[in-house]
């Protein structure tokens, strides 16, 4: 069976060219057909989405959009719904993540988009969400209304299941006509969600499209890049640089580059009762999505002086990773991924030859933990369950160790008493960390999260302001003027 990816209102399936891609994992295979639009089809799609958004979406009450999203999410959360069952079947084959990881990850993530949470998204960014529907009075006098982009282009990357929904839903909340470019590594969820929305509220379904093209090569690419007034893009710096260079200067570009997450563990969290539980949470964050998320930890800074030493804590984490490996088996690795791990392990072994590091886990284990006793700066590991623990004398040492990599910083998982949590958060914020999470929640940001420290909705919109004096002046032209 072939699964056709995307959601392409106004373009009949038979009229399009499809590129078939086979995926294989966990002893099963699946063929995904990705749409390949020519320039005329791309232009037609852009026009269709923009015109429909203008005529329909922008005239809808936000409440109606929220109701539709909520209904679509409810179906995706229902394990008996055929689409949810399809997702649970196909996503492990396409992304390589094991079934349980996909199932738990989907449920945990989709919960962030129920109606109460969507209202939270709005409340996070707008003092008065009514501004999305009409002019609202402001405290200084005058009135404000916000408008989303006419055509918002999402360029998604990576294989973390359903990650695309975050920006897609944000776009819908601000009534943007949206076109999403699927990531080759997870080309399914966004299209399913869009089709579900179209089924629930056909008018909304005309205002968004999900497609695919080969980045940098397709003839259709310039059409999309010229048509969008706002582009939200995910990917490595190289990809983002290339993309930015192709955009007109008037296009608003919102890039989300690759990031590196880390954890910090204070000595007060390291006693014989708390440490094992904490190690389990840290191992969970490492295991979930195989450290492929921007929020995934690659390094833990562990403070010395607790009743459990950093070296002992490393053993606890290793033990928990070993335990999790049987419940959530690691994805099959590509040659390149195996080489990344081997090269990282090799470098750590070299350090161990000097006595400067201790490497836990055999090469054949699906995880590796290395522990170093001297402070060292943040650095990526080999990914796919490879973690470095760095002992530090004091939590105050940590900001300087991560500061050189400001542009790569985002999430820090912190286990510390409240006073020190705030002190460290302040220091880390100064060097560029934008999200503080507890261990165990690093890969599950809250609804309304300020992704990369930015506004999910506010960055998308433009304000129209009626100054108070304009209203006053207008009074002079009213039919009832004296």
């Amino acid at each position: 069976m072939i699964e056709h990816a995307g959601h392409l209102p106004g373009l009949p399936r038979e009229a399009l060219r499809w590129r078939e891609v086979s995926h294989r994992a966990w002893g099963e295979s699946a063929t995904i057909a990705l749409p390949e639009l020519d320039e005329a089809q791309a232009a037609a799609l852009c026009a269709h989405v923009r015109d429909n958004a203008r005529a329909r979406l922008k005239r809808m009450e936000t409440a109606r959009i929220i109701t539709a999203i909520d209904a679509a999410i409810a179906r995706l959360l229902d394990r008996a719904h055929p689409l949810r069952q399809k997702a649970e079947h196909l996503l492990p084959i396409v992304t390589g993540y094991d079934r349980e990881t996909v199932r738990l990850g989907l449920t945990g993530y989709l919960k962030t988009f129920r109606k109460p949470q969507l209202l939270r998204f709005l409340a996070e960014d707008f003092a008065n969400p009514g501004m999305l529907d009409g002019f609202q009075p402001t405290p200084k006098g005058g009135y404000l209304r916000v408008h989303g982009p006419e055509l918002l282009l999402h360029v998604w990357a990576g294989n973390v299941p359903a990650l695309s929904l975050w920006s897609l839903i944000c776009g819908l909340l601000v009534k943007a006509g949206s076109i999403g470019k699927l990531a080759s590594a997870e080309p399914l969820t966004a299209g399913w969600f869009a089709s579900l929305l179209a089924e629930i509220d056909p008018e909304i379904g005309e205002c968004l499209a999900i497609t695919w093209w080969k980045g940098g090569e397709a003839a259709a690419e310039p059409v999309f890049l010229r048509a969008a007034d706002t582009v939200m893009a995910y990917g490595g710096n190289e990809t983002l640089t290339t993309l930015r260079a192709k955009l007109p200067i008037t296009t608003r570009f919102l890039p989300h580059g690759h990031k590196i997450g880390f954890g910090v563990i204070a000595r007060e969290a390291l006693d014989s009762r708390k440490a094992p539980a904490l190690a389990r949470l840290a191992a969970h964050d490492v295991t979930r999505y195989e450290q492929q998320g921007c929020y995934s930890p690659q390094m833990l800074f562990v403070e010395s002086g607790g009743r459990v030493s950093p070296a002992e804590f490393a053993r606890h984490v290793a033990q928990e990773l070993a335990a999790l490996a049987s419940r959530y088996p690691r994805r099959a690795l590509s040659q390149g991924e195996a080489a990344s791990i081997a090269s990282w392990r090799g470098a750590q072994e070299t350090r161990a030859m000097d006595g400067a590091a201790e490497l836990l886990g055999d090469p054949s284990d699906p995880w590796s933990v290395v522990h170093v006793a001297a402070p060292e700066a943040l650095s990526p590991t080999g990914l796919n369950r490879t973690l470095k623990l760095v002992a530090v004398e004091s939590l105050d040492d940590v900001p300087a160790l991560v500061a050189p990599y400001r542009s790569f910083l985002q999430t820090a998982g912190i286990a510390a008493a409240p006073e020190r949590l705030f002190r460290l958060s302040g220091q880390l914020g100064e060097v560029g960390v934008s999200r503080i999470a507890p261990l165990g929640r690093m890969t599950a940001p809250e609804a309304g999260w300020h992704h990369d420290g930015r506004f999910s909705l506010l960055d998308l919109v433009t304000f129209t302001e009626i100054e108070q004096s304009a209203e006053t002046a207008a009074e002079g032209f009213a039919p009832y003027v004296d």
Binding site: A157, G158, N159, V160, L163, A185, Y234, G235, G236, N237, E238, H256, G257, H258, K259, I260, G261, Y289, E290, Q291, Q292, G293, C294, S296, Q298, L333, S334, Q335, G336, E337, A338, A339, S340, I341, A342, S343, W344, R345, G346, A347, E349, T350, R351, A352, M353, D354, G355, L359, P363, S364, S379, P380, G382, L383, P404, Y405, S407, F408
Partner: protein, 358 residues
């Protein structure tokens, strides 16, 4: 074994016409025991792997050190400051240079010469050489410069010349030597770094010059392009050499060597690429799974490990960053093993290093 004893044993081993698997194994285990005892970082590495001379019974189980270790560690069984020669890598990829310490070059030279005669000279005592690489005096820390100088000293006719020095390539000198060689009936040999041939090929192509070197002429290139010249695919490169110099691709021999070894491996010409590489009886190569280090069956792509017994003072077993596959008469070299970018949105090593370099 003392250093003198291991050197004597190795020289005798190299002098043998060929050895059996059991003989190689016995010598490999002796070298391993010597290195385990005298090379402290290597000993720690082996202990970490749970391998000691007492537990290791097969040469394939001798722990192989990742080649990057030569950059970060001093791997030497003798005091490094007393080394007769230190060979350093060019450091082109990361700026840090890997080092190999040689308390004496006796074993290195013997290994080079016996093998060079067999694989490149092929029965000739001497041949007129043109060398496209600076000599040993100019680059004393370059194992390739030392290799080519030794080749010239031992196997070249007196009218052989080196055409690259600090001032660069002496193209005029090279062209007139090639002209002379073309007119004579004596075979000619061109030897150098792969990237040194590229400007010569470009200059010849620009001027439309071609040579037809006498039968028996041959070419030796090594090391790839390393960003020193434009990159050429193997077929483009050997077709270019063959057309420019009139030497058939089957007489274009690629030497595969590295600073971190004391022996070289060769193919028997590049009529077809990738060619099959093999070494002399004192080096054996394996192809392993990069993660587990276990041997892969013939025809399966993995990472190459060399066990070069002549590299007695450092570490004989080296895990390279080269991809390859085992074939009946040796192995095929399939380029470098590169790490992969993250499949998601976490930053991976390559991007991070690129940013750190600025």
């Amino acid at each position: 074994m003392t250093q003198a004893e291991i050197i004597a044993a190795l020289l005798a081993f190299i002098a043998l016409p060929d050895v059996s698997e059991a003989e190689f194994e016995a010598m490999a285990l002796k070298v391993f025991a010597y290195q385990f005892r005298n090379n402290a970082p290597y000993k720690r590495f082996c202990l970490q792997r749970g391998r000691t001379p007492l537990s290791v019974r097969r040469w394939r189980d001798i722990p192989a050190v990742p080649i990057t270790a030569f950059k970060d560690l001093t791997l030497s069984c003798s005091p490094p400051e007393a080394a007769e020669r230190v060979f350093m890598t060019s450091g082109t990829t990361q700026g840090i240079r890997g080092r190999s310490y040689h308390p004496t070059l006796d074993v290195w030279r013997r290994s080079m010469l016996v093998n060079f005669r067999a694989r490149f000279m092929q029965g000739r005592e001497r041949i007129r050489m043109g060398i496209l690489f600076p000599d040993e005096a100019e680059l004393p820390n370059s194992s390739l410069a030392t290799y080519l100088s030794l080749a010239k000293h031992e196997c070249a006719t007196p009218d052989s010349q080196t055409f690259i020095n600090a001032a660069g390539l002496d193209l005029g000198g090279l062209l007139s030597a090639l002209e002379q060689a073309e007119k004579s009936s004596e075979p000619y040999a061109l030897l150098g770094a792969s990237y040194s041939f590229v400007p010569v090929l470009d200059a010849l192509a620009a001027s439309g010059r071609r040579f037809a070197l006498p039968e028996g002429s041959r070419i030796l290139d090594t090391g790839g392009f390393k960003g020193q010249s434009r990159e050429l695919g193997p077929d483009e490169f050997y077709d270019g050499l063959s057309a420019a110099f009139g030497v058939p691709r089957s007489s274009c021999i690629n030497m595969y060597g590295m600073t971190e070894l004391s022996s070289q491996l060769y193919d028997d010409g590049n009529a077809a690429c990738p060619s099959v590489k093999s070494g002399p009886h004192w080096i054996r190569s394996r192809v392993v799974d990069p993660l587990t280090g276990t041997d892969l069956p013939e025809g399966q792509r993995g990472v190459i490990v060399h066990h070069d017994l002549a590299h007695f003072n450092c570490v004989a077993a080296i895990l390279t960053e080269d991809a390859g596959e085992i074939v009946p008469s040796g192995f095929k070299l399939l380029g470098r093993v590169d790490g992969e970018a993250s499949k998601g949105c976490s930053v991976a090593v390559a991007e991070f290093l690129a940013a750190a370099r600025g």
